[in-house]
Amino acid sequence: MWRPGTVVVLHDETATARTITLEVPDWPGHVAGQHVDVRLTATDGYSAVRSYSIASAPNTEGRVELTVERLANGEVSPYLTQEVAIGDRLELRGPIGGWFVWRTQQTEPIQLIAGGSGIVPLMAMIRSRVAAASIAPFRLLYSVREPGAVLYRDELEALSNHGQPVNLTYTYTRAVPKDWPRPPGRIDAALIATSTWPSNLVPTCYVCGPTAFVENAAGLLSDYGNSADKIRTERFGPTGDRK
């Protein structure tokens, strides 16, 4: 069930995040929101497995893009963001997941809420919507530590300009851009009320990011009137040994 992918493109998104494009022969295709497990094996047989969301829209070229954020104490992410070279092969298992997905047949309003690297699977959903020329209305609330941490900034800019498919709100937890109207902080009820779909429109909501972020945002969506079965969540976190 492990299949090899060859690294064909490397692109640094920020100082700490890199997108790796893999060519995977016989890739069965995927749905936006799914992830892959990546396995690295040392020469003595020691192996480590980590999950990464697929960033690319479904395509027929057998290409899979992963955006990896380097964790300071990570065992795998420093290797993937700094060592991996074009031509290297990585073992992948997947695509995995059938709940935290957006399918192009969905037409209802979509509310996306991303915390940090939680933007990755949601970006796949946005890219999928664009590629399929869907008319489903999308809103994205994207929370990052500080402006330099935003992933896919130019692409999101283009997709959220007037008349474009995604209504985008940034929010910052540590440092804000100059003249930003809101001080840094967690998402709160006021922000949900001003930037997300009114709950009576019954959007399907996707919340992704670190566990604490997801619990806060999902709780606020629920308080705002969205029912539990309309709120889908995916929690990110280190899966190697904690310190």
């Binding site: 480590a48 065992e75 290297d88 073992e91 040994d241």
Partner: protein, 199 residues
């Protein structure tokens, strides 16, 4: 066919000390868990020794801390392959907790706040092989590492050192605990690399 990842070696570091087979040295203190960290207020904490018929001994935090404790240094070996050497602790030996207890039980099941259990021969808890430890590295034991108090049985893999320990049940028949019942070795001697059942 496994692909070898060019230049990947993982978190291991070479050791010039003798480690049990298959282990690597760490200077961190990894936190592994099977469930949420319990938060036990000290005024509710208890440690009990029971057998099939009832509670034989019980301590609350005050009476437990009134017992003679000792500081000691031991090596830790986790079945997930990391070893941490020369760790310093303070705790009450099980010899003290079991002193003068008349029992013909052969085994013990340690159980924790939360639902974790682990089993071992009663004799492995005695003769200075086991403690209920409440301080690590000169500080009160942090909840994520098993505080207020954990079992420490360093001659076995660390899953036998039950975090958040709340008591020992004495048994006449061995009964596998949380991990022993799902593929892990019933005894768990790191020097004989007894990681999994059937080895």
């Amino acid at each position: 066919m496994d692909i070898v990842s060019r230049g990947f070696s993982g978190r291991r570091s070479a050791a010039d000390v003798k480690l049990p087979p298959g282990q690597y040295l760490t200077t961190d203190f990894p936190v592994l868990s099977a469930g949420p960290t319990p938060h036990v207020p000290l005024d509710q904490w208890e440690f009990t020794i029971e057998d099939g018929t009832g509670v034989l001994r019980r301590w609350n935090w005050k009476s437990f801390r009134d017992l003679p404790a000792e500081t000691f240094r031991v090596d830790l070996h986790c079945v997930t392959r990391w070893s941490k050497l020369g760790t310093s602790w303070e705790g009450v030996p099980l010899d003290t907790l079991l002193a003068d207890l008349k029992t013909d039980a052969s085994h013990a099941l340690a159980h924790s706040y939360g639902d974790y259990t682990t089993n071992l021969p009663l004799s492995d808890l005695m003769k200075k092989q086991a403690w209920v430890a409440f301080r690590f590295d000169g500080k009160d034991l942090a909840p994520e590492h098993g505080g207020p108090a954990r079992l420490l049985v360093p001659h076995l893999y660390l899953w036998k050192s039950a975090k958040w320990v709340r008591g020992i049940t004495l048994m006449h028949q061995d009964k596998p605990g949380f991990w022993e019942s799902l593929g892990y070795h019933n005894y768990g001697d790191p020097w004989r690399e007894q990681r999994y059942s059937g080895e």
